[in-house]
Structures are given as C-alpha cells and as structure tokens.
Amino acid sequence: METRDSLIRVEDLKKHYKMGTIRALDGVTTTIRRGDVMVVIGPSGSGKSTFLRSLNLLEEPTGGAIYFDGVDITKKKYLDENGKKVKLNVDELRQKMGMVFQHFNLFPHMTILDNMILAPMKVKKLDREEARRKALALLDRVGLADRADAYPIQLSGGQKQRVAIVRALAMEPEVMLFDEPTSALDPEMVGEVLDVMKGLAKEGMTMVCVTHEMGFAREVGNRVLFMADGKLLEEGTPEAIFGNPQHPRLQDFLSKVL
C-alpha cells in the first residue's frame, strides 16, 4: 500500500473565521494516495465537510497547503516544471475532482441526460453524440438509462444521487469527493447509493467520503480519519479505528454511533 504514489497532500490546513475564534479546520495534515478509499468520520461540526470542500476549493482555506499532483492549489500562482510562474486554473483543477453533494444538486431545469452531458460538452468540448453515448453508458451502469429523458424532480432521492455520482464520473475525474451522500436519503435508498460507491471503490477509484455510514467505512474504506473540533484526532485502517480506538473522543463517538 505504501508504494502507491500520493495524489493529494494536505499540510497543516486551516480555516479560521472571526479572528480565529471559530476554527472550522485547525491544522489538518494527511495524504491521499491513488486508489485510496478514505472515509472521514466525526461528530457534526467537526470540520469534515469543510475539509472535503477545501480539497476542490469550494472553501478557501486561511492557512496551510494542499498539494494536488505536487502543485499547491491554495496559492493563486505556482511554479511549473520550467520554473515559470503560472496562474492556477481552478476550473481545470476541479475537472479532476468529481464531487457528490448531500442534496444531490442536480440541475432541475434540465433532463437527466442534459445534466450528464453539459459539462463534458461545454468543458471537455466533446460533441453531443459522443457525450450522449458516454452518458447513457454511465446511466446504464447505475440502472437509470431508461430515465435519461426525465427531469430530476421525477426521480427518487436514491435515483437522484446515483445520477449525481455518474454526472461527476462523466468528467473522468482522478478523485471523487463524497459529502455525506446518503444523509438526505430515506433509509431504504441508502443501500442503492452505497452499492454504486462500493462498485467505484472496487474499480480502484480514489475516493474521499465524508459519511455517517460506519458499515461502509468499515467494509469499503482502506483508511479512516476521525475529526473533531477541526482537528484530525486519529487516522488508521478501519480495523484499527473501529477495533482499537485510541483517542477518548473517538471511543466516545463510536460508543454513540455503533
């Protein structure tokens, strides 16, 4: 496992508000390697979501660094391999990181298919036919090819989230970020979404998942991060985190959720 190269390196990441009285992130350091399925757990308000959203700069950190493929993406400019100063292209960066949200955030004024092909066509400049073909293949994979012409409101929560996942996949990202993807779902729909995520993990997709699904963390994750009060308190394999928790906060947390 140690031989895998690192994709994202997070160093002493901070997000402070109001003169540092509120510390959503307070010095988080970790490394995400290619093929990792990293699961971030912790009580609400612990900074898990802020951490995840900082990775693709939906939140602007106030300190520390995030190296993606060796480039510090928290700075506006960086030095390229020839030592030249280049402006960081955030849009280009975000294409490489697919994101799935708690509330799906499908575009309600477009059909499922249009949701899927918009970014591939407008950002990757694929022609409509090719984008359509890829989108339908992805939809087929999550069993929703027959709903391509439906509008998001006609879908159940679980279906919406499956569409949101393949919409992000359509951009062929290097890493997928999941921000509590099952928290807004009715209990009977959680399974279908987790199944899609398990499938992705099996294929070797690099994933960072903020979730309250401890079963998923234990079964699918290869590394688990425990956060509280903006700090990364414990990090380890699922066996270590769930079987032999060290930090009292983690022991306390697990006693409540398991």
Binding site: E60, T62, G63, D91, M99, F107, A119, K122, I153, Q154
Partner: protein, 261 residues
C-alpha cells in the same frame, strides 16, 4: 343631475382618432425600446453588484498569501468598486422621481448632445422620443437590476457549487445553470415591470413625446373636453397592459416544465 360623462363629447374626439393611433404606436415603441435598454443596463448592473472584483485584495493578504480574517485592511481589501458604482446608481435612480430624471435627461444631457431632428414614420420627433427612451430605460434599468439580482440570488448555492465542481467556469455557470432558473423565478416580477413601463411612459408627454397622453392633451386643448379622451386613453392603456401580463403568464407556465412530476 348632469352626468360628468357626455356621449356627445365622444363624437368630438372622432376627428382626432389619428392622434390616438399614432399615440398607441409611440407608446408601444417607447415601451419596447425602454425594456430593451433597461434590460441591458439591468443585466450589467446586476452582474456588477454580484461581481467579486477586489482591486485592493492584496492589502488583505497575509505574508504567505492567505486571506486575513479581520481588521481594517481586510475590510478595505473586500472593497468592490463595480458593486459600489452599481449600488449607487440603483439607489439614486430609485430614490428620485421619474419626472425629474426625464427632465434632467431632456433639458440637461440632451441640451449638450445635439440629436438629428428627423421624424420616424413621418410623425415621431426623434429628438424628443430618444431622450424619453433613454430616461425611461435608465430608470427601469435600476428596478430590473434589483429583480435580476434577487432572481440570481434566489437560486440555491448548491447549484453553483455543483456546476463549478464539474469544471464549468463562472460565466458558463451563469449562462447554463443560473440564468435559466433565475429567469423563471423572476418572470412575474418582470411582467409587472413591463406593465409599469407601459404606464410610466405616459410621463414623456411632458417633454413633447406624442404618446397616448399627448393625444389626450391635444383633444383637450382643441375641444375643451377632458374626461372622455381620458376614458379612451384608459381603455387603450388597459388593452396594452392586460394582454402583456397574460402573455408573460403563458411563458411562465411553459418554462415550469421541470417542476412537474
């Protein structure tokens, strides 16, 4: 008791029917141009107000290039001159009477700028029509700006986050995700504003634009009849405004396809 409306007085209007016909055309043209100009101004203003241009941003950065959290410099660094200008424009235009604005544009601005004095369609005096359009357009631009801004802000932030996380740029996000949804939300308010413009255009008769109200005035001056031409004008304005709001209501229904289960 004498009725204040006399049927015989309506017959006195008949020789002036052409004035009313011309007035309708002028009012319609005035409103259309006003809406077009107003919408363009409003779009620019709304984007200025929502922009994130911070020329003094460097003042609020810490040594390692991160945003400072607070303090005077952090506040100064957030200053957005575009948003400031747009807000000032909107507040000034909304807080002064239209008639004052129309007079300032006509007697002030266009006393310096010479307009060609030709006549559109042979009867619309361009050097009066044009200042009227500019003044009304500037005024409705301020109101439409607030409508457009509220429409853009009414869209859930998750939409922008989803679009940006897919790699769409700010402009693409506005064009493909935000505007189509915002437009649907603000159509009733825009319809209202269109109707307001049609009615408000009546004020331009004070600078000699020959709209419906100026036809009323002409009849009054020539025949000393006032109520009856006013009733005719009332009917005409109603026939212009009512269908306009109905038409937009139709488009509103057509655009809400995505809401139906």
């Amino acid at each position: 008791m004498d009725s204040f409306i006399k049927l015989s007085n309506f017959s006195k209007i008949v020789p002036y029917v052409q004035l009313f016909e011309q007035g309708v055309l002028v009012t319609v043209l005035l409103s259309l141009f006003t809406v077009a100009i107003g919408f363009c101004i409003a779009l620019v203003l709304a984007l200025m107000r929502l922009s994130n241009v911070r020329p003094l941003r460097f003042l609020g950065l810490t040594k390692d290039g991160h945003q400072k959290e607070s303090g005077v410099l952090a506040a100064v660094s957030r200053f957005n001159p575009l948003a400031f200008l747009a807000t000032a424009y909107v507040e000034i235009l909304r807080s002064t009477p239209v008639i004052v604005q129309v007079f300032i544009i006509y007697y002030g601005v266009f006393s310096i700028i010479d307009l060609p004095s030709f006549r559109l369609f042979g009867f619309i005096k361009f050097d009066r029509f044009f200042p009227g359009v500019v003044a009304l357009g500037m005024n409705s631009g301020a109101y439409l700006c607030e409508i457009i801004r509220s429409g853009i802000q009414s869209i859930d932030g998750g939409q922008t986050e989803a679009a940006r996380s897919l790699g769409l740029s700010q402009v693409q996000n506005l064009r493909y995700i935000i505007f189509p949804q915002a437009l649907k939300n603000i159509l009733p308010a825009i319809a209202n504003e269109f109707v307001v413009i049609i009615k408000e255009s009546a004020i331009t008769y004070t600078i000699g634009v020959q709209d419906i109200m100026s036809a009323v005035n002409a009849v009054k001056g020539a025949t000393f009849v006032i109520i009856e031409p006013l009733l005719v004008a009332t009917a005409i304005y109603f026939c212009l405004c009512f269908p306009t709001s109905k038409l937009i209501a139709y488009f509103e229904r057509r655009m809400s396809r995505g809401d139906k289960r």
